[in-house]
Symmetry: C2
Subunit: 131 residues, 2 copies
């Protein structure tokens, strides 16, 4: 398999509802997680739903971080997909700490595709080779 | 388990490199996928990397769609996370068609958390109940 990156799929619960409904705290937490994870921000969208719930999507040079909160359940979902450099586990750990989730389930998914003959010995000209 | 939504984690390959390096085609494809999937767009970021590769992150009322392309491998990664309404499989099917991937691997992940006594009989006042 040709691996292009790691994707951490995280469900977190037993978190205080007021934190999960605070868009500014979540914005700051994501910016800190990006720094802790050695990643580079391209764009950040933070949106508050009515009557409650926050969604934030960070587009990164390394791929993305997305978080969706359900304050009414004390639950939030996070995805951290990093290709190349970066420390996705550190980013997740920071978000769990900031949002004070007592319980988490973390799934680690390798992203990529089956290696074929074409890609077994990549060279500097691989891009032109397959166009 | 309290399910809040479905997350489709998709790796797709054997796709034409020129399509995977065309940010406008990818932007249009995502907008179409959102429509086909009966979802609602909040914000869309499309970014082209140098020398090649495109990342696009759509923040939705239903959660998010993210796509990251590696034209040099004819590969792209897509995540479609929909909570509540919507047809995530239709959105994925459309993106595969638009970007002409001949091969795909789709993982379906249920997002949510273990049900506790507190949430077994939700009522209209559940939010106030746990703050």
């Amino acid at each position: 398999m040709k691996k292009v990156g790691f994707h951490l799929v995280v469900d977190a619960w037993d978190a205080p509802s007021d934190l999960l409904n605070d868009p500014e705290r979540i914005r700051q937490g994501i910016l800190e997680a990006i720094a802790v994870g050695d990643a580079t921000l391209i764009d950040l969208c933070v949106h508050q739903f009515s009557p409650h719930g926050v969604t934030a999507t960070a587009t990164l040079a390394e791929s993305h971080i997305a978080i969706h909160t359900w304050p009414e359940y004390g639950y939030f979902a996070v995805d951290v997909f990093f290709c190349g450099k970066g420390k996705p586990a550190k980013a997740i750990e920071h978000l769990q700490k900031v949002l004070q989730a007592k319980s988490v389930d973390v799934k680690e998914i390798e992203r990529g595709f089956p290696m074929s003959k074409k890609f077994e010995q990549p060279s500097h000209s691989i891009y032109q080779g397959i166009v």
